[in-house]
């Protein structure tokens, strides 16, 4: 459930007599309006996660990087290349299981 995608805030305007912050958020070249009511500290330039027209979270750049350091962290990165070769076969087997 819950298709939400990250976009960059291009501009912010106020609606309802200044009560509500609405942003133009850019997603890969397209722009869509989103409410910033759930992310009061989001500013122009920030990335926010938008779900059905509402930004539900800011996206944290630093935390994002952790995913790419995780394998290194768990200290196993060196042995990977050879395994990758082996797995090619196992992948094809996997497919034929489904077809």
């Amino acid at each position: 459930m819950c298709l939400a995608i990250p976009g960059k805030i291009k501009s912010i305007e106020y609606q309802y007599d200044g009560l509500v912050r609405m942003a133009k958020v850019v997603f890969g070249g397209i722009t869509k309006e989103a409410s910033l009511e759930m992310v009061p500290d989001a500013q122009v330039g920030d990335y926010v996660l938008v779900h059905v027209g509402v930004a539900i979270s800011k996206v944290d750049e630093e935390e994002a990087q952790k995913t790419f350091k995780y394998l290194e962290e768990i200290g196993e990165i060196d042995e990977l290349v050879e395994h990758a070769q082996i797995d090619k076969n196992s992948i094809d087997e996997g497919i034929s299981k489904f077809l």
């Binding site: 819950c2 298709l3 995608i5 890969g28 070249g29 722009t31 938008v50 489904f98 077809l99």
Partner: protein, 339 residues
């Protein structure tokens, strides 16, 4: 636009009487003038020899004016392209309007101009037509039907029976652009974008390819409604062969990609215009691609997959990350998802 004593279309303009004549003679006939155009008779008469192609489509797009075009050029290009997909040189088109009461003459005129230019660009004559007007609320501004007659290219041997394992599948340009351009102006979904419909006539490009590659081209198809996925499935079904597609080879522009992410759509199912698919024999695939890239609307062409013996009637996509999945036909309309 000519000076007229009416600003909007009313039922009378479809009554067949003075108003219908006024409407048609106010400039419609002039605009589309050509040696054969409906001589105030019930049909057009012309001479054509040999193997002929005949095709029709009705156009019901909403909104009528969309980023990058309008229903008028769509209606011309659509039938021109369907004829081209048969391996034909499009020659003569019929043009039939169903207008909704209240359509403004200005909108109608703008559509007519697009029709004129699209027909000129494609090199086809509009030779016969019809105009009906329906009551407000019984139509949607304007529906257009075109039918067309063309001559089969002497070298063309387009048939799903010619498709064989090993053949390469080529798309002529970026996919899903048209469908997303339309979606960007739909009520409840609107978004800002510079995406424009890429509607275009493909007949000149197709002709040059047929000139050069002749019978090595096994199939042409334009992936309009239902998108690339539907055409691939139809080919697999008709040929009883399998198809493998490489996701990373499929050309999609970034903005279209973004819109698809946002709305939960799959570009493979989004409608196209100005894009065709070709199935060609493996020998010529690279030359075909190279040539196509030099032709009109062919710059972004790509080989996206091939016909295989395995998994007959099935289309299998290898995802960007190396996984595989079956690509089925679309069930119903693609609708934006929340999950």
């Amino acid at each position: 636009m000519p000076q007229l004593d009416f600003e909007v279309i009313t039922l009378g303009h479809g009554s067949g009487g003075v108003l219908t004549n006024k409407l048609l003679e106010s400039g419609v006939f002039d605009l589309l003038k050509n040696p054969i155009l409906d001589d105030h008779h019930d049909g057009a008469i012309f001479q054509l020899e040999g193997k002929l192609a005949f095709s029709t489509d009705s156009y019901v797009i909403s909104p009528v004016f969309f980023p990058g075009g309008n229903i008028g050029e769509l209606a011309i290009n659509g039938t021109v392209n369907d004829l081209a997909m048969c391996g034909a040189i499009p020659k003569y088109l019929s043009l039939s309007f169903i207008l909704e009461e209240g359509l403004t003459m200005q909108e109608f005129w703008e559509i007519l101009l697009s029709i004129k230019f699209a027909a000129e660009k494609a090199g086809v004559y509009i030779v016969t037509g019809d105009t009906k007007v329906v009551e407000r609320g019984k139509g949607d501004k304007i529906f257009i039907n075109t039918a067309g007659v063309g001559q089969i290219h002497p070298k063309a041997e387009i048939s799903s029976r010619k498709v064989q394992a090993g053949d390469k599948i080529i798309v002529s340009g970026n996919i899903a652009t048209h469908g997303i351009a339309i979606m960007s102006v739909r009520e409840g979904l609107e978004f800002e974008t510079s995406i424009e419909s890429d509607t275009a006539n493909l007949n000149h490009t197709v002709k040059e390819l047929l000139d050069t590659f002749g019978s090595d081209i096994h199939l042409f198809r334009d992936p309009t409604r239902g998108g690339v996925a539907t055409v691939l499935n139809e080919i697999a079904r008709d040929t009883k062969l399998g198809i493998n597609i490489i996701q990373k080879n499929i050309p999609v522009i970034e903005e279209v990609y973004g819109a698809c992410e946002l709305l939960g759509l799959d570009p493979l199912y989004v409608a196209n215009e100005g894009v065709f698919m070709a199935v060609v024999s493996a020998d010529v695939a690279n030359d075909f691609l190279a040539k196509l890239k030099t032709l009109e609307n062919g710059l972004d062409a790509a080989i996206i997959g091939e016909v295989v013996e395995e998994h007959p009637k099935q289309v299998v996509l290898q995802s960007k990350i190396g996984g595989k999945r079956v690509i089925n036909m679309l069930v119903g309309e693609q609708l934006p998802r929340i999950c």
